[in-house]
Amino acid sequence: MNKLELTGLTARPSQVWGGIRLVPLVRETPVEGLRLHREVYGGLGAGAVEVGPRTHYTSYIPHGFVADWSGEGAESAAYGTQFGAEDGAPARTVRLPRHRHHRLAKRRPGDRLRFLPLHLALEGYLALHFGGPSTAWEEWSRQALRDGLSPRAEDAYLGWSVRGLGDALRAFEIHPGQCGVMVYAADALAAAFAVPHPDDYRLLHPTLVEDLYGELVHQYAWFGAPVPEFGARIADGPHLRTLDALRAAAREQERAWSDAHGTLFARDLLDGSYGFDQVYRMGEFTLWRFLPPFVRDGGGQHIGETITDHKGRVAYLKTFRLSDAQVRRGHLLQRLAGADWRLPDAARALGTSEEELRRRIRSAGFEALLRHR
């Protein structure tokens, strides 16, 4: 498995607000046997996660998702913290849990899994070759050999601070059967989001504004001009004599947009090959997180997490677009690791000199790795 398989999700006409374009993704039939709920955390979103022994992940974590594959949540999507309530008993006053999370994905009683959306993917990116040099070559500093890349930090912007995103999501008209959305800033894919069931989507639609977005998205939204609507055009032809012909021409417009979206807009995301990393297996569904190949061809590179069914079709998807600097860092780390952390080999693989490679390491923010001479 190295590609995202978005079968079952069809793109419908986009809705534009200033520089933000939202493309609804619609499922004919909801995915059977999987529902997503949201649980909200207190403490203004300040969250710390225990990822491993003496390893912590800290970020803005306003909510988590709960995947439920028991098949019981089919009739209604519950507001996260209600699941303790008995049948028929009045719902308790909701008290927001404010605890340190243990692991990014954690099994809950019953067939449920709590995971922290987007943070799962981001942690995967941050943990890339987190251990540092595997062999103690003399170029690497003692700190690098002892602690690896720790502490490793990346920047992201909250959805509220992405210009126009809040208004775009508010004024967006959700389609019947909509299970996902693709967010574009200045017509660059900023995020993709898909869930198994339309009811889940209606509840989770506003959470997009509390998600994290890369620096590039923030800049594009801030500086980008309003993007045009792709208005329908019906060509005057000799065949256009009846209402049926007119209806067919109108249908053709919708189909043309759906095709154009897949090949033109979302190509970066759908055509890329990814390294998938299995996080959890639940019944016939599997939770993965994925990293892009970190090739520097100018296209967008997305990290993300997904839940797929046994045929590899996407039931849940959430992506984050890396900024150029983040792609560069990923690329550099992969090449260094690929050369077994030997500077001369890595320089040769990158087609550059050792001195230049040192400069690149320093400018990528990994100066502490190198031993001062």
């Binding site: 609804p24 208005g231 209806r247």
Partner: protein, 486 residues
């Protein structure tokens, strides 16, 4: 166009500006809309008022005779009075008649607010004083106004230097000096300060303040005040009354309510209540629609309507569900206007039950218009905010192709009415250049609006538009004189 030889380009532009302003003055209220903030609406509307007042003063005044909304009527009156120097004596006379006729139709609280604004803007010319004097003289009960609009009346009287005879002057300007008042209401107000029993004799809004001061229980108070409330107050406090909390308002005859107001009320009920009272609500809506249709009932032939109940018809926190209410009211009105059994409604969500309609989903106007045209109607009415988004622009294309290729001899009259003012475009949003668009605030005005809308199609010239305006002005001012002082 027959008179094309005598019409210059400037005339056409002028006619376009006039229609633009009329559309804006009918729909815009300076409140938040689904897609724009209140301050943008006010900014845009403010510019439009100034532009039309400076360039087309005659039309600006004449707009008072059309069905523009109260907010804009007050603004127009204020603009005319503030800039009186720009008008000629003849113009001033017509303006005076129009202003007097319009003020008589406005709710009193709006007029008192206008007087307050005039005072704040230091507008105190002779004409303003005369208008204030005449309007106050025509009020049925000065004492009632003195109690209910105490501050407003005080400001107006002080600003226009009006002498107040008898105890009214004492009541307003030297309260507490008389041991008792002759007038029943004035005395009730005096006693209400210390006697709970007197609170019940006052108008509801005034009594509310006293009730809070005396610490009276809200529920019992509202129950007791019910007979003294206005119709809208009774509807508004419906949820606070114990007796009719889950039913329909007890003391209100729904069938006499104006159509759009009734539609707004129906939409404010939840689904269960609407299902439970389906018969009463539908009956009331039908009755209101028949009354609004009046002599036109059944005269429109085969009618199809495309009605927008997409998510954006939920309006905003300030104009809750207004676009949807207009669509719902139009549905019943068109049902009354069409020949019996020859009416086809098409909602954008595809619902077949108009009473349970709710704002939801995208706006596939294009496909719905094709569906409507398949019924071969004589008239097609589209009620929508003009944001066609599934896919965008399809409605305009469908209408263009229909006009230019499929229906060249215009057997179908298409009209688009739009309840939402687009602040960025200084007009209501259009679907297509070939289809007339008119702003709409109350569905009851639909027949009149369809008449205005045909001017925007470009097939009738500016001369006819001005003739139409003059006719409206003449009707408006003479109606009022014939009707006498209210």
């Amino acid at each position: 166009m027959t008179t094309a030889a005598t019409e210059t380009f400037a005339d056409l532009v002028a006619a376009e500006d006039v229609l633009l302003f009329v559309n804006a003055a009918i729909t815009a209220t300076g409140q938040r809309e689904f897609r724009s903030e209140a301050y943008r609406q006010r900014l845009s509307l403010g510019f439009l008022h100034e532009y039309v007042r400076v360039n087309y003063r005659r039309v600006y005044a004449a707009s008072l005779a059309l069905d523009i909304n109260d907010h804009n009527a007050v603004r127009v009156v204020r603009g005319l009075l503030e800039h009186a120097g720009e008008a000629s004596p003849v113009q001033k006379r017509t303006e005076g008649q129009l202003i007097a006729a319009r003020l008589a139709k406005l709710p009193p609280q709006r007029v008192y607010r206008l007087f307050r604004e005039l005072r704040a803007a230091k507008v105190n010319n002779r004409r303003t004083r005369a208008i204030t004097r005449d309007w106050l003289a025509a009020r049925p009960d000065a004492a009632h106004d003195a109690v209910k609009y105490r501050a407003g009346l005080k400001t107006a009287v002080r600003h226009a230097h009006l002498p107040l005879d008898g105890e009214l002057g004492t009541f307003l300007f030297r309260p507490g000096t008389l041991p008792r008042y002759e007038h029943r209401l004035l005395d009730a107000w005096r006693r209400a300060h210390y006697e709970q029993g007197a609170v019940g004799e006052l108008p509801f809004t005034v009594a509310e303040g006293f009730a809070a001061r005396h610490g009276m229980g809200r529920e019992a108070f509202v129950e007791r005040m019910a007979p003294r409330m206005t119709r809208l107050e009774r509807l508004r406090t419906q949820g606070q009354r114990a007796a009719g909390a889950d039913g329909l308002p007890a003391g209100v005859d729904l069938t006499v309510m104006p159509l759009t107001r009734l539609a707004l009320y129906v939409l404010s009920l939840d689904r269960e209540a609407r299902v439970r009272h389906r018969a009463e609500l539908t009956g009331a809506l039908r009755a209101a629609a028949r009354r609004a249709a009046g002599p036109h009932a059944g005269s429109w032939g085969r009618v199809a309507a495309v009605l927008d109940d997409s998510y954006s018809s939920s309006g905003s926190g300030e104009k809750r569900r207004r676009p949807l209410a207009v669509a719902l009211a139009c549905h019943f009105l068109l049902e009354a206007l069409a020949a019996p059994g020859a009416y086809t409604p098409l909602w954008t969500t595809g619902t077949r039950d108009p009473l349970l309609v709710r704002p939801w989903g995208p706006t596939p106007l294009g496909t719905r218009i094709i569906d409507a045209l398949e019924h071969g109607p004589e008239r097609l009415v589209i009620v929508s905010d003009g944001w066609d988004n599934a896919p965008p622009g399809l409605a305009g294309e469908v209408l263009r192709v229909w006009r230019t290729r499929l229906d060249r001899d215009r057997r179908t009259a298409v009209v688009h009415v739009n309840p939402v003012y687009d602040a960025d475009g200084f007009d209501v949003r259009r679907l297509s250049a070939g289809v007339p668009t008119a702003g709409i605030r109350d569905a009851e005005d639909l027949p009149a609006l369809v008449e205005i809308a045909r001017f925007s199609e470009g097939r009738t010239g500016p001369a006819e538009l001005y003739a139409y305006l003059d006719r409206q002005v003449a009707r408006f001012t003479t109606d009022d004189e014939a009707g006498g002082v209210r």
